[in-house]
């Protein structure tokens, strides 16, 4: 038995080493590296969240791990994308380097509870600002404005906009904002909810569904990967992405807004965009932050 098992074990060990090596080389050229400011806890008002985080030298950030272009974890375990770059900019302004950021996966359903229970300091996770959510958490930003759109086969001429979806099977994610929007505003659409957006691709290719619908930025990622798909029509909703944080922490919220505005001005926001989502999407004007 001993000699028999040695082979596979050696093979597995070799595979692990190879993977580790791949991870290492990926690391070097991933994304941009926003500047880390030379600040200390004493530079912030005493007792503020900023002072506490700067003092600790670490911050816990909730982001998506499965969203191409915004927050996607590669084989090496660190997420990459525009949301991730935004989080790095904020951490950098607190004097926290990249390795002081602890990434935590947040999915659509647990973002509020993670913030409320303090498991994360901020959430940057394609997080649409809306009034219901504002009752539970508060939002800095928006730092980007997306909108719901439609993806269909390039050969499908029937669907040009949301009004053409009546009677069609449209794939989306179970329990997501786009699903709720379709159910409410396009009741004639037959909604086919899956567990993840990537699950919609095979049924779409095979013709089991006619289209899929979610935020344009997500669809653009899929269309860029595979020319058989095409994004149709203009976005038909406004989804301002904000940075979620504790409900009553107004000082922290205003401070993040300042950091965002600074990043708009000095071009780091544009740089972050171009290094990530900008590879398939045009560079937009940064949206005005909403200091509600």
């Amino acid at each position: 038995m001993r000699t028999r098992t040695a082979g596979p074990i050696a093979l597995a060990a070799a595979a692990v080493l190879t993977l580790a090596a791949c991870g290492g080389s990926d690391d070097a050229d991933s994304g941009s590296t926003p500047e880390v400011s030379d600040v200390e806890a004493a530079d912030f008002p005493e007792g503020s969240t900023m002072a506490a985080l700067a003092e600790a030298g670490s911050i816990t950030v909730g982001t998506k791990f499965d969203q191409p272009l915004f927050g996607l974890v590669g084989p090496d375990g660190t997420p990459e994308g525009f949301d991730v770059e935004i989080a790095k900019i904020i951490a950098g302004a607190l004097g926290i380097p990249e390795d002081g950021i602890e990434w935590k996966e947040t999915v659509s359903a647990n973002r509020e509870s993670f913030i409320e229970s303090g498991q994360v300091d901020i959430v940057v996770a394609t997080y649409t600002i809306n009034d219901e959510r504002k009752q539970v958490v508060s939002f800095a930003g928006p730092y980007y404005e997306a909108g719901q759109s439609i993806l269909t086969l390039a050969s499908n001429e029937d669907i040009q906009g949301p009004d053409d979806l009546a009677g069609k099977k449209v794939c989306t994610v179970s329990g997501s904002t786009p699903e709720a929007n379709l159910l409410e505003n396009y009741p004639d659409t037959e909604v086919v909810p899956f567990g993840a957006y990537s699950d919609c691709l095979e049924p779409l290719r095979g013709g089991q569904v006619d289209a899929m619908s979610t935020d344009n930025v997500i669809l653009a990622g899929f269309a860029a990967d595979d020319p058989t798909f095409e994004v149709r029509g203009e976005p038909f909703t406004q989804e301002p992405y904000g940075i979620g944080l504790a409900l009553d922490d107004t000082d922290f919220r205003m401070w993040i807004n300042d950091v965002l505005e600074q990043a708009y001005e000095d071009g780091t926001w544009t740089e972050a965009w171009e290094a990530t989502a900008g590879s398939v999407l045009p560079t937009p004007e940064p949206p005005a932050v909403d200091r509600y």
Binding site: R133, Q135, C171, S174, V191, P193, F194, E202, P203, V209
Partner: protein
């Protein structure tokens, strides 16, 4: 609790789908699982081999993967199952029947071999022996494990939420999204509705067990 009362129609429509999934898949799984068990004890080695392969394959594959094969892999080989409810019924019955088979087989093995020998001695064929003598006794003794399998099936229907079926969990997620401040409560509600199925099932198992059990 207001949240659950306010969203009762949404919960109930999800609950109905979960119940339909459970009952249909449960019925198919019981039938197919019993057939598999009969194959596993049959004198034909081909049948035994087929049944063993099927059971080992399905029993040792995560249910999510069974769904995955049906929904994403089968279409690549030209098999296009209708998305949604019936795909879920097929996946759930195929998966659960492997467990039913093993429970029924354990019951069959628990019947003293003399019973089958006596049946053969009076000239009954294999299928008559199994259908008239062995299975009626075997099934009685496996009521508790079978109810166990069906309770597991009830909860397993939630996997269908990720594959185009709007059952209880998917409805709960919609409710949670619409009420972010009470998202946890929305999921507690989902749990309560599962209990509505599983607790009576457990009670039923107790009653059935007392009714059909016999001393040996």
């Amino acid at each position: 609790m207001d949240l659950i009362a306010d969203n009762l129609p949404a919960y109930l429509s999800g609950f109905r789908v979960t119940l339909q999934l459970t009952l249909l898949s449960g019925a198919f799984a019981l039938v197919w699982g019993t057939v598999l068990a009969a194959m596993r004890v049959s004198p034909l080695s081909t049948l035994r081999g087929l049944a063993v392969t099927y059971v080992e394959l399905l029993r040792n594959t995560p249910l999510t993967l069974v769904f995955f094969f049906l929904v994403f892999v089968a279409p690549q080989f030209g098999v296009l199952p209708p998305l949604g409810f019936w795909t879920a019924v097929i996946a759930l019955s195929a998966y659960t029947s492997a467990f039913v088979c093993e429970a029924v087989r354990s019951g069959i093995n628990g019947i003293p071999v003399g019973q089958a020998e006596a049946a053969r001695a009076i000239g009954l064929t294999f299928s008559q022996t199994l259908g008239l003598v062995v299975l009626p006794q075997a099934v009685r003794s496996v009521v508790p494990p079978l109810i166990n399998v069906l309770i597991a099936l009830t909860k397993n229907t939630s996997v269908a939420a990720g594959f185009a079926v709007v059952e209880l969990l998917a409805s709960g997620r919609r409710i949670a999204l619409a009420n972010p401040s009470e998202a946890t409560l929305a999921l507690v509600g989902v749990g309560l509705f599962y209990l509505v199925i599983t607790i009576p099932a457990g009670y039923l198992a107790g009653v059935l067990e007392r009714k059909v059990a016999f001393a040996r």
